[in-house]
Amino acid sequence: MKLNFEHLQSAHCENGVTRSLLKNIGINQITEPLAFGIGSGLFYVYIPLLKINNGPVIAFRPMPGLIFKRTCNALEIPVVRQKFSSKQKAEAFLNDCLNGGHPVGCQVGVYYLTYFPKEYRFHFNAHNLIVYGKEDDNYLISDPVMEKTTSLSTYELERVRFAKGTLSPKGQIYYPQTGALITENQIKKAIVSGIKKNVREMLNIPFPFVGVKGIRYTGNKIKQWRDKLGLKQAGLYLAQLVRMQEEIGTGGGGFRYIYAAFLQEAYTYHPIDELLEISKMFTESGDLWRTAAVQAAGIYKGRLGSQEDFNTMGNYLIEIADIEYKAFTALKNIKWQ
């Protein structure tokens, strides 16, 4: 059985799943940038002391599932969401959804995701895809980061839905209920609440390693990495930073561009000139994230390596923090009509 479903490619998996699932129930207005902005998708945290893949834990995104949840909440669309302890029940529930005509979002781990190239398969459990049908033993998959649709056998899908380790998906499945209609006013309100929430998360969480403060904190840490860790290890840490920052499904620079695109779209709903100005600030920040990645690559490729090079690297992040502090403060001060 194959549900009537249009595959759309997107820059970030959860935005894409959100947009496609909403489109499927007849809500066409929510583009990828709108889903990202209404879902308050920008985040930053550097978790000191903890390690993942033997490197620092740096996240550029909120917890998996939040973008979808917040976007639907803000638009007052009821959501069905479930996690499972039993693989059989998880599969039965999935089949029921499909039989009931609902394409569904699934949280999955990437390590056993057979259609990804091996080089990209890590124990990363916050990927999202859509299941929109089943033919023989194969589930039909719309993975938003892929150009085309693909498929997974029953066993393969079960394995990625029940991946183990940090943030294990536990078969998590979700979809928006049909029948909701969205007015322009609701979108306008959702944009404002999404921005306000993102401002709070980037400016007001009182830990030194979260939000804009966290970016500055990381910048200062990086300057010490060469002495503390040695050149080799420091290079590996920077490579990890770049992978977290720019790789599929995550994104530091890329996320800033999506947010900048969101603010441009927000302007069409709220014609406030500041939005366009602030959008440019996020473009500037995105460009600087990419410049920082080039500098990091110089170090992990061994072309650069002096303390001066690490200072430059750290200073890029501090400069980014300054720009984003200004941008979020400006967003905070907008007088919404």
């Binding site: 980061v145 150009e147 992978r243 561009y257 990645a293 990091a296 690559a297 992990y300």
Partner: protein
């Protein structure tokens, strides 16, 4: 980033699918553009895999020196840590940590060994003798 600056360095992902990027057009408006990959990301990934290979060869040597059980080798090879392995094997993390010691691993029942063997997709004999079948 301007649309024409979206990098097009072919990555191993790029051979399978291009990635969507947001970038600005001539008028400064955001549009989407497909990217085949970016050299900076490719080398970050390569650096990571070189590190993994180093870790695997160190683990192999430790097993041969009887400083660690074969589990360490397979764990590193599968990019796992004790917690992830415990999850897949259906054991506790502290159990996995114990089983990383060669003297304790040697006393494990076939039933326990079978659990690990299934996770790594090898036979019990392969598990004991660190034989790998490249898929």
């Amino acid at each position: 980033m301007k649309k024409e600056d979206v990098p097009q360095d072919l990555s191993s992902l790029g051979k399978i699918t291009k990635e969507v990027c947001y970038a600005t057009d001539k008028s400064g408006k955001y549009v989407t553009e497909l990217s085949k990959g970016w050299d900076i990301k490719i080398t970050a990934l390569d650096t990571h895999w070189e590190e993994i290979e180093t870790r695997v060869s160190i683990a192999r040597q430790k097993v041969l020196n009887n400083e660690a059980s074969p589990l360490l080798f397979f764990m590193e090879k599968s990019l796992m840590d004790a917690e992830i392995l415990a999850g897949y094997a259906g054991l506790w993390k502290w159990q996995v940590k114990r089983h990383l010691k060669p003297e304790i691993f040697k006393k494990l029942s076939d039933k326990k060994l079978q659990r690990y063997a299934e996770v790594f997709n090898v036979t019990i004999d392969d598990l004991k003798n660190i034989n790998v079948h490249e898929a």
